[in-house]
Amino acid sequence: MSAASVVQQARQERRTLLSEIEAKELLKEAQVASTAPVLARNPDEAAKLARQAGFPVVLKIDSPDITHKSDVGGVKLNLGDEAAVREGWASIMASVQKAAPTARVSGLTVQKQARPGVEVIIGMTKDAQFGPVLMFGLGGILVEVLKDVAFRIVPLTQRDAAQMVREIKGFPLLQGYRGSEPADVAYLEGLLLRLSEFVDKHPEIKEIDLNPIFAYKAGAVAVDARVVLEPPEG
C-alpha cells in the first residue's frame, strides 16, 4: 500500500482515523521503522502468526473506532506460547466487548514483542496559528503525567531537531543512565527531520502519535502509531 492509497481507502470508507496497520504503512514513506503487526481474524490464525513471528508476541485490538487501545483492555503483552495467545485473544475480545460494544472489530493484530528500549514519544499536531508542530518527549504513560515534552514548528532544521531532543528533562535517560543502554540520539534527530519533511508534503494528515517508540543503542522502533486525517475538503 502506498501512502496515497492508504489515504484513499480511508476516504472511501469516510474515516479520518487510520488503523495501526494503515498508520504504520503510511509512515513507511517517512522511513519510520516500526513493528509490523499482522491481522488475525480468529484465534487459530493468531496462533499461526505468532509461531511465524516468534514468541513472545503482543496482541492488539484492530478497530477503526478505537483510538486508545490500552484503555479498553485491547492490548496483551508478553504472550510466550500458543496457549497464552489463545487466552489473550479471549481476554481482549471480552474486554473490548464490554468497554466498546459498538466498535467495529476486524480482528487482533499479532506482532513480535519489541525488545525494551528507552520509551520516547514523537507526535504532530496542528496549531491554529502556526500550522504543523512536532512534539518530542519521554513516552509511554509518563508523557500524560510528566508532560516532559518539547515542541518545534515545522519545517524543522537540524538545529531544531538537535535542540528539542536535548531540551527535555529526561535527556540523561537517552544518554544512558545507571548502566542502561543509551538511545541512538542521532537516529531520533533524523527521524524528527524526516517526519517534518513528510508532514510538509502531506497536509491531509492532521495528527500523528508515535507512542511508544523504543529507542535502542542503534536505531529506534515505533511500537504503536496513530494517524488522524483532516476531514475531506468541501
Binding site: T125, K126, D127, A128, Q129, F130, G131, V133, A150, F151, R152, I153, T157, R159, D160, Q163, M164
Partner: protein
C-alpha cells in the same frame, strides 16, 4: 489546540505574492513617512487630541469634520477644515479616523476614493465588544477594505507613531527625537508605556504602531515593512495573537538573526488570555508553541515592559558577547553572596579568576573588610576612581571572564562627591575601550530623600552610554537573554 482559526484578511492567510508585498510596503511607506495627514472626526470633547498630537508634525495637517459646532475650534488651532476627505486639495498619505462607529464605513469609502495611502481607525466598538453589532460592523469594514486592498490599520487602535517627524498618536509622546528601536503593538497603552520607559533610559523610537483589532493589517505586515527600514536596528513587539502564523514564522526565521526582535507576548496565562481583546484566543497551551517559535527564530522574549526596555537597552548599549562567565565588582560584602546567587539563578556563572588576575588584584587590594575573589568586594578599596577602574580592567583582561558587572550604591557619591566626579568619565572611557559586555547595577534607595541623588547618577551614567539596571535580578536576566541571542546569531553565521 486553539479555538477556531481567525478570520482571513487580504494581506492575511492568503499566501502573499511578491507583488502584494511590494504594494503593502509602498502603502506602509506612505503611512510611516507621510507628507500629509488628515484627521477625521476630532472633537473639542477630547481636547482635539489628534490635531494636538500633530502640532509638531513636519508635513501638512488637515481636518475633516462636518459638525458646525466643532469647526471654529479646529480652525482656531490653525488647521484647515473640510467637510469631506474628497474636498482636500492634494494627496493624503495617511488618515487618522476618529468618528462614531456607524460612520466608519462611510469614511472608509472616502479614504478609498481619495487614494489615501493608509488609514488608522481609532474608532472602537467592534469585535472587541463581543457583541453582534460590533462583529457585524467589523465584518463590513473588513470586506470593504479587502475588496479595495486598502491598508486599514485597526480599528480600535492609535496608529503609527514616528517621533522624528512629529507624527504622534498622543500628546504625552516625545517628538523631534528618534532612535534605533521600532515597536509594533497590539495595544495602544503598551506602546505609550514602552515609549516612555525607553525614553527614560535614553532610548528613542524609529517607528512604532499600535494596530488594535488588525482586521486588515496585522503584526506580520508591519514586520514585513520594518525589517527593511534602515532607521531601525532592533524591533520590539507586543503581541497577543497573530493571524498568518506561517508567514510570521517564516519572516522571523529569515530576519531575527540579522535584526534583533523582542516579543512581549500578551495572554500567557488562562486569565491573561481572557483579558486579551484580540481576535484570536491565545490559550496558555499555545505558549509552548510560541516558545518554540522564539527558540527556532532567535527571537528574544520579554514578559513585561521592564523586561522589554531592559533588553532593548542591552542590545543598544552593551557590547555583544557569547560567554556566560561574569566578573563582578560589588559595593559591600553582604551583597556579594546574594549577587552571585542571583546571577547563578539566571544561568550565568561567577567563576574564580585566573592566578594572574589574583596577583594583580593582591597588589592593590585592601583585604581588611574586602575580598578579592570574584565577585570583588570593593567597599573599602574604592578610594579612587583609578583603583576602581583597575579592578574593572583586571576582570576584563581575565580570559576566564566574558562580561563585567559593576554594582554601585548612589549614596557613595554623597560621602565622596569628588570621587564621583572623576569616576563617571573614567567609567565611560572603560566602557568605550572594552569589547566585552559591561553593565551596571544601581539600585533605587530606600529613603525618599536619597532618590534624587540616585536618579541623577543613573541618568548621568545612561547619558554616557552605560546600561544601568535597577536590580541585579534584572541585569542578570537581561544578560542571559542577550547572550543567548548572540549565541544564536553566531551559530547562524557559522552554519
Amino acid at each position: 489546540m486553539l479555538a477556531a482559526p481567525p478570520p482571513a484578511s487580504s494581506y492575511g492567510r492568503r499566501p502573499l505574492g511578491e507583488r502584494m508585498i511590494a504594494d503593502l510596503k509602498a502603502k506602509l511607506q506612505r503611512a510611516f513617512n507621510p507628507r500629509s495627514v488628515a484627521v477625521v472626526g476630532d472633537k473639542k470633547q477630547s481636547d482635539y487630541m489628534w490635531l494636538n498630537s500633530l502640532a509638531h508634525f513636519q508635513g501638512k495637517v488637515y481636518s475633516v469634520q462636518i459638525d458646525p459646532k466643532e469647526i471654529p475650534g479646529i480652525e482656531a488651532l490653525g488647521v484647515p477644515n473640510y467637510k469631506s476627505l474628497l474636498d482636500i486639495p492634494g494627496p493624503i498619505d495617511y488618515a487618522l479616523v476618529s468618528v462614531p462607529r456607524p460612520v466608519a464605513p462611510r469614511v472608509l469609502q472616502d479614504c478609498i476614493a481619495k487614494g489615501v495611502g493608509a488609514a488608522a481607525f481609532f474608532t472602537s466598538g467592534f469585535a472587541e465588544t463581543k457583541t453582534e453589532d460590533g462583529l457585524l460592523l467589523q465584518a463590513s469594514l473588513t470586506k470593504m477594505a479587502q475588496a479595495a486592498d486598502f491598508a486599514l490599520i485597526g480599528p480600535n487602535c492609535m496608529g503609527p507613531y514616528v517621533p522624528g517627524i512629529g507624527l504622534r498618536n498622543n500628546t504625552d509622546e516625545a517628538w523631534g527625537v528618534s532612535g534605533p528601536v521600532a515597536f509594533i503593538s497590539q495595544s495602544g497603552g503598551n506602546l505609550v508605556n514602552f515609549s516612555q520607559a525607553a525614553a527614560a533610559s535614553g532610548i528613542h523610537i524609529s517607528k512604532a504602531v499600535s494596530y488594535g483589532n488588525a482586521i486588515v493589517l496585522d503584526s506580520t505586515d508591519f514586520l514585513e515593512y520594518i525589517v527593511d527600514d534602515p532607521d531601525t536596528q532592533l524591533i520590539g513587539a507586543y503581541i497577543e495573537g497573530v493571524k498568518d502564523g506561517r508567514r510570521f514564522f517564516r519572516l522571523l526565521r529569515e530576519n531575527a538573526g540579522k535584526k534583533p526582535v523582542i516579543i512581549w507576548k500578551g495572554g500567557q496565562t488562562p486569565d491573561g488570555a481572557r483579558a486579551t481583546s484580540s481576535h484570536t484566543a491565545s490559550l496558555a497551551e499555545s505558549m509552548a508553541v510560541w516558545e518554540a517559535l522564539m527558540k527556532q527564530c532567535g527571537v528574544l522574549r520579554a514578559n513585561d515592559v521592564d523586561e522589554m526596555v531592559d533588553t532593548v537597552k542591552a542590545l543598544v548599549m552593551v557590547k555583544p558577547g557569547v560567554g556566560d562567565r561574569v566578573g563582578m565588582v560589588s559595593m559591600a560584602g553582604g551583597s556579594s553572596v546574594t549577587i552571585t546567587d542571583t546571577f547563578g539563578r539566571a544561568g550565568l556563572r561567577v567563576p574564580e579568576l585566573s592566578a594572574d588576575s589574583y596577583r594583580k588584584l593582591g597588589s592593590f587590594f585592601n583585604i581588611i573588610g574586602g575580598s578579592y575573589r570574584n565577585p570583588l568586594d570593593a567597599g573599602q578599596t574604592f578610594r579612587s576612581a583609578d583603583l576602581l577602574v583597575q579592578m574593572l580592567e583586571t576582570l576584563r583582561d581575565d580570559p576566564q571572564i566574558d562580561s563585567v558587572v559593576l554594582e554601585m550604591a548612589a549614596r557613595r557619591g554623597d560621602r565622596d562627591p569628588k570621587l564621583m566626579e572623576g569616576l563617571l568619565p573614567a567609567l565611560q572611557r572603560f566602557k568605550e575601550g572594552t569589547t566585552k559586555p559591561f553593565l551596571m547595577v544601581v539600585s533605587p534607595p530606600q529613603r525618599v530623600e536619597h532618590y534624587e541623588r540616585y536618579a541623577q547618577l543613573r541618568d548621568e551614567l545612561t547619558a554616557r552610554g552605560i546600561a544601568v539596571y535597577s536590580t541585579s535580578q534584572r541585569a542578570a536576566a537581561t544578560l542571559r537573554r542577550v547572550v543567548d541571542y548572540y549565541r544564536f546569531r553566531q551559530e547562524l553565521q557559522a552554519g
